[in-house]
């Protein structure tokens, strides 16, 4: 069984050159960084806040903050990881504002065994993407990931959807590496369990192929 390939986002060397140019006042260089990463920041913000208007605000606030703090970027991490850290903080602030009565934290460790004892052990149909229209599939994926605790879905999105490494995810979220690994496993297993309800092979599917 093949392993999962990681998305590679941007080019670190090019990013550094653009950061340097932007620091020296080249706004066009910053615009290139913005165009390179605005879609990623929007997705991450949406996953965390679960609110589109908040996500739009996060994109604006995160890039403006990154621009203002460009001199503080040390170059120890990738520009993208640094930007994600700013965006995650902005998104969490929005989430806390909306859910003022509840404490929202990605540090919060949710004790749950969901997924650890797999209940759905039927294989999926060969191509789940063909079972549903694109829009329906999008709704299923969105609804399913929304049901996860904020800390789990944020780790899953950064690590598996946006392709950050375990170390970069830990760095962006201010979590330890074991915490990222544990949350990622639980997020993956919970999503698998929930998606199985939609994608599992129907009992008579096997008969058709015989």
């Amino acid at each position: 069984m093949g392993t999962i390939q990681t998305n590679v986002t941007g080019d670190t060397g090019e990013d550094l050159a653009l950061v340097q140019a932007a620091r020296e006042g080249d706004i066009g260089a910053f615009e290139q960084l913005l165009k390179r990463y605005d879609r990623n920041v929007f997705r991450i913000a949406n996953h965390i806040t679960q609110n589109r208007e908040d996500a739009e605000d996060v994109v604006q606030d995160a890039f403006l903050k990154a621009y203002q703090k460009l001199d503080q970027f040390q170059g120890n991490s990738k520009f993208y990881t640094w930007l994600v850290r700013i965006a995650v903080n902005e998104a969490l602030m929005k989430l806390r504002k909306r859910k003022a009565s509840k404490t929202v934290s990605i540090d919060e460790d949710v004790e749950t065994d969901e997924g650890f004892v797999p209940r759905e052990v039927t294989d999926w149909s060969p191509n789940p993407e063909q079972l549903y229209k694109q829009a329906e599939l999008g709704d299923i994926l969105e609804k399913t990931i929304q049901g996860l605790p904020a800390g789990f879905r944020t780790v899953f999105v950064l690590r598996d959807v946006e392709g950050l490494s375990t170390e970069e995810t830990a760095d962006a979220l201010g979590l330890s590496i074991p915490a990222v690994k544990s949350r990622l496993l639980r997020a993956r297993l919970q999503l698998r369990e929930r998606l199985s309800r939609y994608f599992k092979k129907k009992k008579n599917d096997g008969d058709k192929t015989q």
Binding site: V59, F63, R192
Partner: protein, 81 residues
């Protein structure tokens, strides 16, 4: 190998970051354990389906609007030293 041990190592197995001997132990487990085989296969598909079908895509019109707004704010803001 027990199924619980298999599940605990599943992340590193899928990410390809296990050492060779542990990897072959897991592969051996998969040859006879149907449940772990299904869990492994469908977890891999879970990751792939989220990666290939991005939810929350930024529509082009909104993207242009946000870019214009951000650059205009940056122009009127001074970097903080």
């Amino acid at each position: 190998m027990k199924c619980s041990k298999f599940l605990a190592e599943l992340n590193d197995f899928l990410d390809g970051s296990l050492d060779a001997s542990l990897k072959s132990e897991l592969e051996e487990h998969l040859t006879w354990c149907h449940n772990c085989h299904v869990v492994c296969n469908t977890t891999k598909k879970t990751i792939e389906i989220y990666r290939e079908n991005q939810v929350y895509e930024l529509p082009d019109a909104l993207r242009m609007k946000l870019q214009t707004a951000i650059i205009s704010k940056c122009k009127s803001s001074k970097p903080k030293h």
